[in-house]
Amino acid sequence: MTGDPPPHPAERFDEVFDAYFVEIHRYAAKRLGPDAAGDVAAQTFLEAFRQRRRYDPERAGVRTWLYGIATKVVGRHQRAETRALRARARLGPGRGAEEHTERVDARVSAQGLRGELAGAIAALPRGQRDVLLLVALADLSHDEVAAALGISYGTVGSRLSRARTTLRRALGGTNPMLTLEEQHG
């Protein structure tokens, strides 16, 4: 059993808030879009605040702990995330109706890739998506992801590689060679 805990969010929560609110907000905005980001970040810190006495510095750094809570909160907004992924596909480069020049074609395929990627991420199982996005968006290490999500190191690795494989397979279809020109007249 532990004796005296080291410095702890329980005593200095305002410092924790000031240090990490912007970063957690950014993570939430990337996953759910700007509308939900404020709510998700606020809810993350409220839950962290309520759990602050149970925070265990032996298990995870404060930043990792906060990302774990934020990911839980994001999980409850799963439909919002799917909507955000779709919206992002819509707002990719190549936006606008004036699609005339050949240069636009290149942009259109980039937009297609983006849409496909967003769709592929949306279709990942939650567990895999959480691992992938904690690595890609929050730059957490495998150890940190394991601590944040309460899963084993091995599970982090396997989920990440499965997500990668799925994305690779899904994006295989966006090879420009597969975009067909249909015959005109």
Partner: protein
């Protein structure tokens, strides 16, 4: 290609929080302390919960009285007829007030022992979730890691020959993983786990669809194919702002098969599930392949997509023996008796690369639906392992 970097680069940089957002978040902390719940802290009440509570009231499909049981089918059925017969059964399944899914996921790994190469299933986990049909009826999510295990009886014999090791260190394509034969109890703590007494009604939608939208799907297979599986509609969904005229994209059959399967395991009306299965059989590049066994050993009938090649290049390192090209195809398996979706898996068609020593039909990875469906009482997961 580095998928993680691609994902990172694809997310645009969002605007920082406004002063108002920061102030509001801070003011929440100043409120009176509430009793914290031991597990997941769900709905907050007020602002935040509003987003999650856009739950759609689900109209239960009470109206479609189950068709009278029909005498079991003819003696001989061809492959396509087998799938269609399963689709008929899907139309007769009852509905209820709680939806649940029990999903086992696993991945095969090659163990190159001195006494002989064999395959194990690792990264094995099981997720059990239930949802009340309407918001406020609650929902619960459980998860557990399952023991790694030799894939076939032959693999088991080679595993015993290697001294029945209880841990396996295996190359997973971009890193080494270690899996053990240890079982885990059902976990209720952690991300995506826990109980929400106020939940239900939403969350189960496929690809962003609400339960209500799922319930309103037509059962006509031609309409379903048009809505979800045609190149044109998939391409349109990828270009919601308007696709350039005269262009289309050949959507790989495996993607279409996945889309059909993903929808079929959702709480759609049974006749919609049947319609989806019929729709899938009409797609080019998707074939009925007759009887197959799912990864949990259950017999069924299957649809498969045309196979594709994959290459392990060694760009992330790993053993030399794991490099090279193999071909595989996506397969979905249905229960012939009930029409239930049993599994979606990637099956080896042409051995090579990491799977050079495996036989065609070898399952590379899978998602198996141990059970999924409606019940009238609150479901709970079985302590029993899905494998004997």
């Amino acid at each position: 290609m580095d998928e993680v970097r691609m994902v990172r680069d694809s997310y645009p940089e969002p605007a920082p929080p406004t002063a108002r957002e920061i102030a509001r978040a801070k003011s929440l902390l100043a409120g009176p302390p509430r009793r914290s719940r031991p597990r997941l802290l769900w709905g907050l009440g007020g602002v935040v919960a509003a987003g999650a509570a856009t739950a759609v009231a689900l109209t239960l499909v009470g109206g479609n009285a189950p068709a009278p049981p029909q005498p079991t089918g003819p003696v001989h059925l061809d492959d396509k007829a087998l799938v269609l017969a399963a689709a008929e059964k899907a139309e007769q399944q009852p509905t209820g007030v709680y939806w649940h899914t029990d999903v086992v996921q696993g991945q095969s790994f090659i163990v190159r022992a001195k006494t002989g190469t064999y395959a194990i299933t690792g990264a094995l986990d099981e997720m059990f979730g239930w949802w009340g049909a309407k918001s406020g009826m609650g929902e619960g999510h459980y998860g557990r890691d399952l023991p790694a295990r030799p894939v076939t009886a032959r693999d088991a014999a080679l595993w015993r020959k290697a001294g029945s090791p209880s841990t396996f260190r295996v190359w997973a394509g971009d890193h080494y993983d270690t899996y053990t034969t240890k079982a885990q109890k059902w976990q209720m703590d952690g991300v995506n786990k826990g109980t929400d007494p106020h939940g239900g009604g939403s969350l189960v939608g496929a690809l962003g669809m609400s339960v209500e939208e799922l319930q309103k799907l037509p059962s006509d297979s031609a309409k379903l194919a048009e809505m979800f599986l045609s190149d044109k509609t998939i391409y349109k969904k990828e270009h919601p702002m308007g696709a350039p005229a005269g262009r289309t994209r050949q959507v790989p059959p495996a993607v279409k098969l996945h889309l059909a399967g993903a929808l079929a395991q959702n709480p759609v009306q049974p006749k919609v599930r049947a319609g989806l299965m019929r729709a899938a059989t009409t797609q080019p590049g998707i074939h009925a392949i007759g009887r197959d066994t799912d990864p949990l050993g259950r017999p069924g009938v299957a649809l498969a997509a045309d196979d594709t090649a994959s290459t392990w290049t060694g760009e992330y390192g790993g053993p030399q023996a794991a490099r090279g090209t193999y071909r595989s195809r996506k397969v979905i398996v249905f229960d012939q008796r009930t029409g239930a979706m049993l599994s979606e898996q990637e099956e080896l068609t042409k051995p090579g690369g990491p799977y050079a020593e495996m036989k065609p039909g070898f399952i590379i990875d899978y998602v198996a639906y141990r059970s999924a469906g409606w019940t009238d009482t609150k479901p709970s997961p079985s302590a029993e392992l899905p494998f004997r």
